[in-house]
Symmetry: C2
Subunit: 532 residues, 2 copies
């Protein structure tokens, strides 16, 4: 790497506290448009590209952008389309989030399906006889029947097209316009952000439609797998630094190590979004499957690569919040496994060391609701015959209840085990995580509850935990949970310091993915089942 590139990278590091760091699984509620994109657009404007460079970037009003959007949808000359699309992107970035919302709502409503036309066609459609399944077959041809069939197929064709909203035109035009795919991803990030505060069915429909389109355009066939190394351009490495959200990259040395001996980094790239991966995965080559993230991040020096038998996926980061819910990772992991196996046949175990981002949130919410019921029932036991029992459940075992209450002897942590646990876990300083007296008491309780959370807590038939859901739908199984595996502030806060190893076995990936997809079955090792 040249000195110049290094300098650029250093600048990138300094900036990297500024841009929103985004992981695959957690998106901030407020997603600002990527400031870098904005810079780029402003530069373009200064160069006089686009027709409206006479408008200042901030002075451009909503109405002008609204008008440009209309032109971008309705223009028919390719030259005009190109200019208006560039102009529309530029204008969009200049809008406040409020104005963007207004604009997107206008897009959703005024460029929706032409429902009068649909109703007209639907009526015609119902009036026609469905063609019998023998036209054109071995039977005698009847020209009259053929003509009727043709009419039917034509009306059906027209109906199918009439059901497409007009805004599809904008999406399709942007998809083939330079920078347009990236812009669409930002548009969707804005939509998702707006929809967390606002329930507009038409906006929700616009968002779903865009998601479907993006999923199609970013199909695995269009993505290129590329190993990211220290020889890659600094502009690309800068992105890795900025987007790595699972285990932040602390300095240049850290980055270099993650791309060096005993490590691999692979990214999925799309030709229309050059120079930055849509998703990337960091791999550590190890002798055994690591139980703690400390082993992975601090094994200096790493073992020689020819001694490695395990490939550990210790970080997967998505870079585009606007692609949330589009499973880019599935084929990534399968392809990375194939690639690593080919390169290093002696590596036979493929596992992750993953965070459990939803564990504490779920547990605290469960404890909060259940300790209320327990409060009604002054016996202090969750085994209750009180009227609220319908909703109450046994969160803690009697032993656990007792052990927790014994902790609260010296201070009044709470009136029952759940309250004690809740108060301990939600304390800001997280003292429990460094207390030699509390840790042995909490370990069996939190490990059991964590196993329950991973294997039994579901939402719409799928694992409640987003990372669990990600790996399970990709065909992994839950292998092992590890106590105090991530002692970072975030690790303690999100999952009580527990991390989980998901294991991928090539021979099972397809079966497991399918049974999870079909029936929500979560495959897990006997070891983890025994904790329940």
């Amino acid at each position: 790497m040249s000195k110049k590139n290094l300098a650029i990278l250093m600048r990138a590091r300094m900036r990297s506290t500024n841009p929103t760091k985004l992981s695959l699984f957690q998106f901030p509620k407020e997603i600002p448009s990527n400031p870098q994109e904005n810079d780029h657009i402003v530069r373009n404007s200064n160069q006089g590209i686009g027709t409206s460079s006479d408008f200042g970037n901030t002075g451009r009003s909503y109405d002008v952008v609204r008008e440009t959007m209309h032109s971008a949808i309705s223009a028919s000359k390719t030259g005009v389309i190109d200019i208006t699309l560039t102009d529309f992107q530029e204008g969009y970035f200049s809008l406040s989030l409020e104005d963007r919302e207004k604009l997107l709502l206008a897009l959703a409503k005024e460029y929706d399906v032409n429902r009068e036309q649909v109703r007209e066609l639907v009526k015609q459609y119902l009036g026609l006889e469905t063609p019998s399944s023998d036209d054109g077959g071995q039977q005698v041809h009847s020209p009259k029947k053929e003509a009727l069939s043709s009419v039917f197929y034509r009306i059906e064709w027209n109906l199918r097209h009439a059901l497409k909203p007009t805004y599809e035109t904008l999406f399709e035009r942007l998809n083939t316009h330079p920078g347009g795919l990236r812009f669409l991803s930002i548009l969707r990030a804005d939509l998702l952000s707006i929809l967390t505060k606002e329930n507009s069915p038409s906006l929700r429909t616009l968002e779903s439609y865009l998601k479907e389109k993006l999923g199609m355009w970013l199909s695995p066939a269009t993505l290129e797998l590329h190993q990211i190394t220290w020889d890659d351009p600094a502009s690309l490495l800068e992105k890795i630094v900025a987007y790595e959200a699972v285990h932040p990259i602390s300095n240049l040395l850290d980055l270099k190590r993650r791309l060096g001996i005993g490590r691999r980094c692979f990214g999925y790239f799309h030709p229309s979004i050059p120079g930055e991966p849509l998703i990337f995965i960091e791999v550590a080559l190890m002798e055994t499957v690591a139980q703690t993230i400390q082993e992975v991040l601090w094994d200096n020096p790493p073992i020689p690569e020819n001694q490695a038998t395990s490939a550990l996926f210790y970080s997967i980061s998505s870079t585009q919040p606007g692609l949330a819910g589009i499973n880019l990772g599935k084929f990534l992991i399968k392809r990375v496994i194939t690639l690593v196996k080919k390169d290093m046949p002696h590596v036979s175990t493929f596992a992750t060391l993953s965070p459990i981002p939803g564990f504490m949130k779920w547990l605290l919410s469960k404890l909060s609701s259940q300790s209320r019921f327990a409060g009604d029932d002054h016996s202090g036991s969750t085994q209750s015959n009180s009227p609220s029992s319908t909703f109450s459940e046994r969160v803690l075992l009697p032993d656990e209840e007792q052990a927790l209450m014994s902790l609260s002897d010296d201070s009044s942590f709470g009136s029952n085990g759940m309250e004690v646990l809740m108060n301990l876990l939600s304390a800001k300083n997280s003292n429990w995580a460094t207390s030699p007296r509390m840790l042995p008491v909490l370990e069996p309780i939190l490990m059991r509850l964590c196993a329950r959370y991973l294997l039994q807590e579901k939402k719409r038939g799928k694992a409640l935990d987003s990372v669990a859901n990600f790996h399970l739908q990709n065909g992994a199984m839950v292998e092992r949970i590890n106590w105090m595996a991530d002692r970072s502030e975030k690790g303690i806060h999100q999952s009580g310091g527990i991390m989980v190893n998901y294991v991928y076995r090539l021979e099972n990936i397809e079966d497991y993915a399918q049974s999870y997809f079909g029936s929500g079955k979560i495959h897990a090792s006997p070891g983890i089942h025994s904790r329940l």
Copy 2:
């Protein structure tokens, strides 16, 4: 180029009389599957790829392929899907055209839209109120209204998806499967071939659906423009030799010249169909716009490139009959013009020297039908009051009638001018084209009729001639027609030896393309108008 490559190229030349040569505009009625593709598939089978390699390539029965097609559509595991898709492609190539037709008919009918589901949804849809255009707007939110809107959008969404035929799954899976896009193009070529003999509305619908999909997947944004030179792999150059159909490449020297000084060759490539262009264009750099193809093919040596002021597109060939009707050429020509202009700013004229493939066919059919009317009317004049006059029209001017009759003095060519012309033109030896006595008589007649054919004869509002339609929709204008511009047997046979120059003016391309698209307006020079 290495000796080995040359040897391969020579072999390609020897084979090139064998594969069907296909131009952009004329497709043989019977399109056999590409024999090379077949070879490839057989090799795969011998290597034991796919689950059914135990079936001999020829012994594989229709039922097996039918079953594989079903699996390829209904399988849900990606591994199985991949195998069945490969297997299906292989199996398809082993089928006779009759069995392919049977298979495609099964695909069209049994994997069609689920119409019961559509009817059910349509009824639900009609029962719902269309959401008013103010939900989520500035007005007070009504949860009930929002819920109703949500239901409406969901039903509409379901209806949209229900209207997609099941065979879309096969198309989409093939599109992202290696070799699948090329296979789909062959599938469509077969469909087009079957539909010339058979009118099956369901098969027609299948074909239209596939065309729409292919058009989407091969959008200009996905195509890469690449200049083809003598340094390209022989395997690619071999394709140029094999597919050049407008002015066949006669030997290696000829090929080298078309890629050498004063010449350019550009191709559009798709990443999924590597190593062969979907369409390619040959360009000659000249001092003036050539009037005859002889000047282009035989200007040995060409003028120095820095003296060139005109770029002449003298041959455009499409390689995939299955992509007929998908306008790949539009952006090709625009981009080639831009590229050439950038490279050579002194080139200011961009024109074609194009065949008129439909002229003779149209003229002979017109003469044949009209001379029948003239035969009824024994005055020998086309100006007639006979009962058949409703359909009769004046094909020849009185002068022309007279001139033609004067030719038939020495032999009884016919009883009227049209008969004489018809007999002369349809004579197998095409003696007229070398007769010093006939040529001066025929020139003004054929040139006038040719101008009429190009500027006035239409089909569904568009130019009847396929090459004319191609260039006009791309924004060209008809500049000039040239007498005895192509003296080859094919040239005489197709267009009486006449060729046409279409001219592209960058500043007019968009306007002309649009007015042609909108109203069918054909832009032409005053010179050619004056011939009418």
